[in-house]
Structures are given as C-alpha cells and as structure tokens.
Symmetry: C2
Subunit: 214 residues, 2 copies
C-alpha cells in the first residue's frame, strides 16, 4: 500500500471550525469547549489520552483505536505544541503534552523558530522551519515505512490539503456551532473533487467524515 499521509481523529464544529477564537495556555481551543468537541473520543476504550481502564467499544472506538495504527511519525503546527508566538521566550516550558505525550513517535513541529529537540516519554519533538512537502519528506523518512499523521491544528491540515499531500482524512464533526475561529472548511463538499467521502453518524452525536483520495 506504500506510505500514506493520514489525518486522524481531527475535530471540527458543525460550521467547520477546528479551533475557536482566543487560543491561550489555559484555553488551547480558544472559546471552543473541549468537552463538547472531544468527548466522543474520551469516552472510548482506546482514547489516546486514557489512563484508566474502562470506556466504550462501539463505533467511536474504531476511530480512536485507529489513531496510532501503523503511524511512524506526526507533523503538527506550532500551535498544537504550545501557544507561544514568534521567537521562543521560555525554552523551559516544553509544550502542553506532559510527561507521556500520546504520540509515541517522532513528531515534527512546524515553526519559523527552530530549537533543540525535546524527548518526552516515547515521543521526540523536532522543530523544523520547512514547507509542508519538505517536512513531509523528513517525516516519511523518520516513519521508516509506516504512515505519517498530520496532527493539526486546523491551519496545518489546511496547508497540507492545499498542497494536495493528504491521502486519507478522518474528521469528526461535533454537534455544536462555533461561529468564529479558524476554519477547516465552509463545507466538506469542497473536497469532493479530490476525495471520496463517507458520512457516518455516531450514537455519540458526532458525524464521522471519512475521506480518501479518488
């Protein structure tokens, strides 16, 4: 099948926003309520951040258990690593992912301000000032034959979509309107010229949108 470039478990509101307005250290998603956006995932047995036993094994769990399957590297935008903008003012603050980030692979953080790599648990963060295509070439090599996940945020997913570098994409559309913030799309139909799309409603309230290249 070759190496795929995959977006996994990406969350947007019904009106197409991936992040609300006013991102900060305390509010990584701005005015968006993370509970509303992500609770479908957190309830499942295989939620990437789950630390206790339990959870559901229904449809939503098929998506969370696919999050790490055959992934060898992730690419994320700087905002997904942390809320700082411009030159790093505080190298001691090492992102909001804690001692055991849920990625467990090399992660390439896109930034115009490179800094030394950081190892946390099974994850290593590399900071690269590169185009999507060049960052992807590095991630593909690091993934060692496995797939590369484009981890977001929404600006990063858009950049990779615009460069036509995405092979498969799973987006969970939450039953909430944000009205402002950073948009992934006006409508998922915008992508139909390049992708197959299946919409699968879940009992949890989200509608899973599954895209794969035509």
């Amino acid at each position: 099948m070759g190496q795929l470039v995959r977006v996994q478990n990406f969350n947007v509101s019904r009106d197409g926003f991936g992040t609300g307005e006013g991102q900060s250290l305390e509010r990584p998603f701005g005015h968006a309520d993370p509970a509303t956006m992500f609770s479908w995932s957190g309830a499942t047995a295989h939620a990437p951040m789950r630390t206790e036993p339990g959870g559901t094994y229904g449809l939503d769990d098929y998506f969370t258990r696919d999050f790490a399957r055959n992934i060898g590297a992730e690419i994320m935008g700087r905002n997904k690593f942390g809320p700082q903008r411009g030159p790093w003012r505080d190298l001691d603050w090492e992102g909001w992912w804690g001692e055991e980030p849920p990625f467990r692979t090399p992660v390439f953080v896109l930034t115009h301000h490179p800094r030394p790599s950081i190892v946390r648990g099974q994850t290593t963060f590399h900071f690269v000032d590169a185009s999507p295509a060049d960052a992807l070439a590095r991630a593909m090599e690091a993934a060692d034959g496995k797939d590369v996940r484009i981890g977001g945020g929404v600006t990063t997913v858009r950049e990779f979509l615009d460069a036509d570098l995405i092979d498969t994409m799973h987006v969970a559309v939450a039953p909430v309107d944000l009205e402002r913030g950073v948009r992934l799309w006006e409508s998922p139909d915008e992508l139909l010229d390049r992708f197959h799309l299946e919409r699968v409603p879940s009992p949890s309230g989200v509608v899973h949108h599954i895209f794969w290249r035509r």
Copy 2:
C-alpha cells in the same frame, strides 16, 4: 485492558443465518452466495484476503483493518477449517486456506478427532478436542497477552456466546435473506441483556452490529 475474546467481521444474513444449507468442498457456505455475504469486506483496502493493491478506505475498511489488530490466536470450528465430518479420511487435504492463510497466528481448530498440527505460511493449525472454556485457556496462553479471536463458523460463535465467553463482537448483517441454514440469532436483540449494541449502516449495504459486554 486485559486480554479480550473478540468476534471480528462475522457475517450473517438479514434473517440471522451465518451459513446456508449444504456446505461442501465447493460451497463452503452452502446455498449462501459468498459474493453477497462478503463483498463489503473484499472491496476494502485492508481485506484480509487481499493480494493486490487498491480498495476502499471508508467505514467498512475500519472493520477489516481491525481484523488482525492485537489478535494473538484464533479459535475456529472444524467446519471453518474444512468440510470433512467424522474421522479424518484424507490427512493430505489440509483445509481450504491455501499456502498463506489470513490468520497469521496459532489457530485452534475444535474437533473430536485430533490430528498433528499443520504449519502453513505464518499460521499454525492445532486440532483440539476441548470445551470452549478449555480451548480458550489454551488460546489465551498462545496469544501471549494479545486478544483471542473466535473465528466461527456460526456454531462455534454460538457455543462461545452460550458459555458467556465473548467480550466484543462485530457482525456484519448482509442485505439478503437465506431462509435456511445455521442460525446465529433470531434477532440481535436477544443479546441485549448482556451486551451493548450499536447498529451502523454502511454505504456498502451491510449493517455493522457492534456488541460489547455490559
């Protein structure tokens, strides 16, 4: 999460039959048409029997790509291995799974007529005359911490359900009525006292039924 006992990608007709009438070497599912029952799976990128590139990445593929995830052993009934009944008349005929069976783990074949184990590709078939609970204990040990798949046929799945040994179960209900054969259920609702159930219709026409223990 501990070791789970899972039924994966098991197929029944809308009226609850897993196998038609008149199983034979030429017709492993009797009068049931395998194309109608299994085409949803064969069309996907991760179909266990796929040998060529291609295939779909939609909802159905989440189920086929879950088939082997974290599975360390399978238990199957003798009829899934081959159509012979009673004492083995022909030890040279080694089942209908070919040179590279899609299991790629130890497989325990339930039979009242044990015979020497068979290695084919990455799969080893062991033949055991044991109760469901005893066969499961052997499979759990062989799975080395991973889960055990109950592979069918329908009589074997029923025996494990009746012994209350199943933790999760995925059944794809095909849009066809068989009217006779071997039944899994009159209705999936029979299992609601012990299992959660989500019904997820797929664009392919099957309705995925996902069960997990209450």
